[in-house]
Subunit: 217 residues, 2 copies
Amino acid sequence: MGTAVLEMLPAESLAPPAPGEDRRITRSKRALRGALIALIEERGLDAITVNDLCERADLNRGTFYNHFHDKENLLTALENEVLAEVALLQARMQSVTLGDMLAFRVAGRPVPVLVDLFEYLRGESDFLRAVLGSGGDVRFGPRLREAVCENLVQNILHEKYRTNPTPFVCYYVAFYASAYLGIIARWVENGCPETPEEMARIAMRLLFITPGEPIEL
Amino acid sequence: MGTAVLEMLPAESLAPPAPGEDRRITRSKRALRGALIALIEERGLDAITVNDLCERADLNRGTFYNHFHDKENLLTALENEVLAEVALLQARMQSVTLGDMLAFRVAGRPVPVLVDLFEYLRGESDFLRAVLGSGGDVRFGPRLREAVCENLVQNILHEKYRTNPTPFVCYYVAFYASAYLGIIARWVENGCPETPEEMARIAMRLLFITPGEPIEL
DNA sequence: GCGTTAATGGACACGTTGTTCATTATTGTT
DNA sequence: AACAATAATGAACAACGTGTCCATTAACGC
């Protein structure tokens, strides 16, 4: 019967244990999460079998199938969890206008919600590094880009182009959204050497720069 | 014996038939190429089996293994072929300076090598759409970005930062390289509605624009 | 046309999958 | 502390895909 419920909810929550969840379930899922991340880094996603996951998680194979239908199901559960969290931050970003960005920029301070975003991403950096890396999942990058970057760019975009997008504006959005995902991915890939605040500053600087123009350090 | 030679050369050439290649080999490989592209779009890469490929290509399974060790081998062969072609264009791009870009920009003409690049990409758009899409290969996007975008950005980058990159310059490069891959991916995904010349113009415009500044159409 | 070589179809052992089930161990609750 | 509920275990199962081999047939280059 427990399995029936799980089939209804393909998007499981894993990192924060569900409220009244049995400790055994929480432990199993946490172990599978760690195993998946480790194995993605080692061999890449397609080379991983359910056997591998259970062996690494020190779990019986039946236990895996008690909670997930297959490998993909586990992966997307973890992805959905991160994206849900990001969506909350994104809601806060909606209220940040280009003017706000400029104001913070001249004040020499990073936009708070951007700092919070990089803060959260750093907390999930193990997972993100794995899933955005060369052994990761093709579909996650675009989903993360849509969840955070596209909306961010829409806000920055000049008013009148937000409503009716011309072909050029479409590429304009794709350009900056990909750019933002690019620095996030690079940061995570490098092991998050910069603090979230530094990254927020870098992200803001890159918004108001033009290639070829001298970079003041 | 033929197989032994192929094992030595994991990077096969497929689209342009090798000079003295048996027609049967050329035909088989071309069929596998088409089957792979079609199936990636339909089900995604991981859901494809060698059986599927052979059935779609109307080939015996043994024939597949005559030329490729496995599914990945076929895929990377096709990828390497495209990247090798792109590398030739990239060599021509090395000679384009930021000054050249600006000169062409004020003259209202796109840089020729950029047009050629988009021209080539359009010719391979079926493959690119599949492999850059949501059912594609995680590793190809970054490889294409390194092959074409990173070098392009290095050229645009202000002289003195090309030699010793600070952390900021590192993200600067990541930013613009990802941005360029972003518009390429978007264009291909959309079915290449703009001409290569239009795309070259768009790419150049995006280099010299700053967010929030009004866009003249 | 003839020798060479690729394609075919069938076979094989092996590993992975997803499911089922009885048994054991761990929970949350009284 | 004991109990009922339930998760984990280990074993079994058929089905399928894999990669390799081989003898036979068909297509190719010259």
